[in-house]
Amino acid sequence: MPPRVNPEKCDGCNAQEEPLCEQVCPGDLMTLNESGKAVCRENSDCWDCMSCTKICPVGAIETRMPYQLGYHGAKLIPMVGTNTITWTSIDINKKVERFRFKTRID
């Protein structure tokens, strides 16, 4: 399930020595293209761990379900806060669910 990068939002992690999505991907899959935007080298090699999606500071990455496995239009969006994370899930029938929990003890 490949990450899809929105080039309008991605700023290539401007000031960073290494873009954050590139830094975290356990499979060395995220990299910048010639225009300085993040891309996944090989969609089929992604493990769907969502590390890149969670860490992107501008929310430019969407994790997509391959159509071969699930139907069109679902979304799962993380919002990472200090010691918490909030997830919004939107299913193919437009049902919205929200989940918020602690990721670390304060």
Binding site: V24, D28, W47, M50, T63, I85, T103
Partner: protein, 583 residues
């Protein structure tokens, strides 16, 4: 960022790092090894060589929703050994190793909580048990928490360095070699003692979803752990145990999501197409829902084989509140599974969750596969220690046990290195390894070569169809194994044609090379065990019954003179009293 690739071997720069303790793989076990070393001796130089980035690498990259083992009040480490033994059908297992991990277990889990891991607690402030031994956590940040601690205590971390081979002096391990997947450098780590903790091996077998575009890595296990830690030892002639005891997990069908969470944590029955409670009804004599893990993993696939699929984890009894909790658990361990449910538009209180068996993996934190080790976790190679999924004989370690074993390996390594002087490095092996590593990069554009992915897919199909993958309902026989071994030799011969266009591809090339070594010994082990002891994990259609003669460990070792794999057995010793098949 894309780097200009050097044009030839002479342009590859070499970096030499000298250290006291080298840890190959900064995962769950590796981080604990490093932290323990710095605790015991803050002056010790501790170096981690990590293929990915330590903050999100290995099995725990996506997070965890449980610690599968934590000894509850009123139970003892010996009780945990009994449970562990019953889960692997009475063994054989190394009860001495299991017990030593059990004794360290709770403290290791308590460490995690102290470092900031949220462990869910009941009204009396006791950890909230999901089943008998496993406790619930909010482990989204489990990996960064371990990594930050390792860095905080002063371990030196080399990220994006892919370990490729051990550095040897005669029969003694004095470190390891590898390459930088980002900077294209060759690395030599010289160390007084080395701990290998690279996790298990994924991608030996084909995943049944891998034919669908974009789903090649729809696997239970982290697909970036490919068994390099095993391959390094195989090449150096180390002894391996129980490699035929493959791990197969029951997963949600089509999208590889966790099922234990639902079946154990939310008391969902496993049912077949007719709504029969398979475990309760068909496997009552083996313990029903409490049956050994391999039975539970194999049962749904037997239903499919017999024409009674699909199979499900029946979630239709859950309340809305429970569904919400369940999804929070998923979001902690495999968030993308919640996206899958959304993409199916599935209300799991109306439609149960469909389940299927995974492709087989080699993971010594789950079954007994891995290096044969002594109590101090030294392998049969002097100076080389193993921990976590890489170390064998000691099943059901999971997060807590891998952490505990990381500590134990460090203690062993530190004792060993006391008063040890590093011998001179033989530079010939170093030059040979450098050449071996970078060769696929320098084939030239006119070269008619083989892509790493092509070889990987050939290997995975071969193993799937001939060495008992999911398409064959995990069954194999002598003829198929011989076929497989014959073709593995051909694949090994074709390694010379592997071609890599960039450093990432170079990593993929070495991943498939390492998998070939591991796959080969897996076939030899499967072939040696002429019986069926753990259906699903190890099923021989030509020897469908258990044979008491094989109530022992199957071992293997590369004979470095003949370059052939030799297999033999070692006896099992029951140390903890009681019925081997019961908790």
């Amino acid at each position: 960022m894309t780097l200009k690739i050097p044009e030839n071997l002479e342009n590859i720069s070499t970096e030499i790092i000298e250290t006291d303790l080298l840890i190959i793989g900064g995962g769950n076990a590796g981080c604990f090894s490093a932290i323990e070393a710095k605790k015991l001796n803050p002056d010790l130089k501790v170096t981690i060589m990590e293929k990915a980035h330590i903050s999100r690498s290995g099995a725990c990259s996506a997070g965890m929703d449980a610690i599968n083992t934590y000894i509850p009040e009123g139970k003892t480490p010996e009780d945990l050994v009994r449970w562990c033994r019953s889960q692997v059908g009475g063994g054989p297992l190394r009860e001495d190793l299991v017990l030593s991990c059990a004794e360290e277990l709770n403290e290791s889990v308590d460490d995690l909580e102290q470092w900031g891991l949220p462990i869910l607690r009941d009204d009396d402030d006791n950890p909230r048990y999901r089943g008998k031994w496993d406790i619930s956590i909010h482990g989204e940040a489990l990996k960064p928490i371990m990594a930050e601690k390792a860095i905080e205590v002063g371990a030196e971390v080399y990220n994006r360095i892919v370990g490729s081979a051990l550095l040897m002096s005669g029969d003694q391990c004095i470190g390891a070699m590898g390459f930088g997947v980002r900077n294209g450098k060759f690395y030599i780590f010289k160390a007084k003692a080395t701990i290998v903790a690279t996790g298990g091996a994924c991608g030996l077998y084909k995943s049944y979803t891998s034919d669908s575009t974009d789903s090649h890595h729809q696997t239970w296990m982290c697909p970036f752990n490919v068994g390099t830690g095993y391959a390094m030892g195989i090449k150096a002639g180390a002894e391996f145990t129980s490699m035929e005891q493959r791990w197969v997990a029951t997963r949600s069908k089509d999208f590889c999501g966790p099922i234990d969470t639902i079946s154990v944590g939310y008391k969902s029955n496993i049912i077949n197409a007719k709504g029969e409670k398979i475990l309760e009804e068909r496997y009552a004599h083996l313990g029903g829902d409490q049956a050994p893990r391999y039975i539970r993993a194999n049962a749904p696939m037997e239903e499919w084989l017999e024409g009674r699929g699909p199979t499900y984890a029946d979630t239709t009894h859950l309340s809305d509140e429970e569904v919400k909790d369940l999804k929070v658990d998923y979001l902690n361990e495999r968030p993308s599974y919640v996206l899958f449910l959304a993409a199916r538009g599935q209300d799991i209180t109306k439609e149960p969750i469909e389940i299927y068996g995974s492709d087989p993996y080699i993971v010594g934190g789950h079954t007994g596969s891995g290096y044969w080790v002594e109590m101090d976790r030294m392998t049969t190679i002097k100076g080389l220690f193993a921990a976590g999924e890489t170390a064998g004989g000691n099943p059901n370690k999971f997060v807590g046990g891998c952490a505990a074993e990381g500590k134990l390996a460090t203690r062993g390594a530190m004792k060993y290195m006391d008063a040890l002087e590093l011998p001179e490095t033989d530079m010939e092996q170093v030059e040979l390894e450098k050449k071996r590593i970078f060769e696929p990069l320098f084939k030239g554009t006119d070269f008619d070569g083989v892509k790493p992915r092509e070889m990987e897919e050939r290997l995975q199909r071969l193993m799937d169809e001939y060495a008992g993958g999911s398409s064959q309902f995990y069954r194999t026989n002598e003829e198929r194994l011989n076929y497989c071994l014959k073709h593995l030799k051909k694949l090994k011969n074709d390694v010379q044609y592997l071609q890599a266009g960039n450093l990432h591809d170079l990593m993929l090339a070495h991943e498939v090379i390492d998998r070939l070594d591991v796959a080969e010994i897996v076939c030899h082990h499967l072939s040696h065990r002429k019986e069926t002891r753990w259906q699903g994990w190890q099923t021989r259609s030509d020897y469908p019954e258990t044979n008491p003669e094989f109530d022992c460990f199957v071992e293997s070792r590369l004979n470095t003179e003949t370059n052939e794999i030799e297999t033999f057995t070692r006896p099992y010793e029951q140390i903890i009293q009681g019925d081997r098949y019961k908790e």
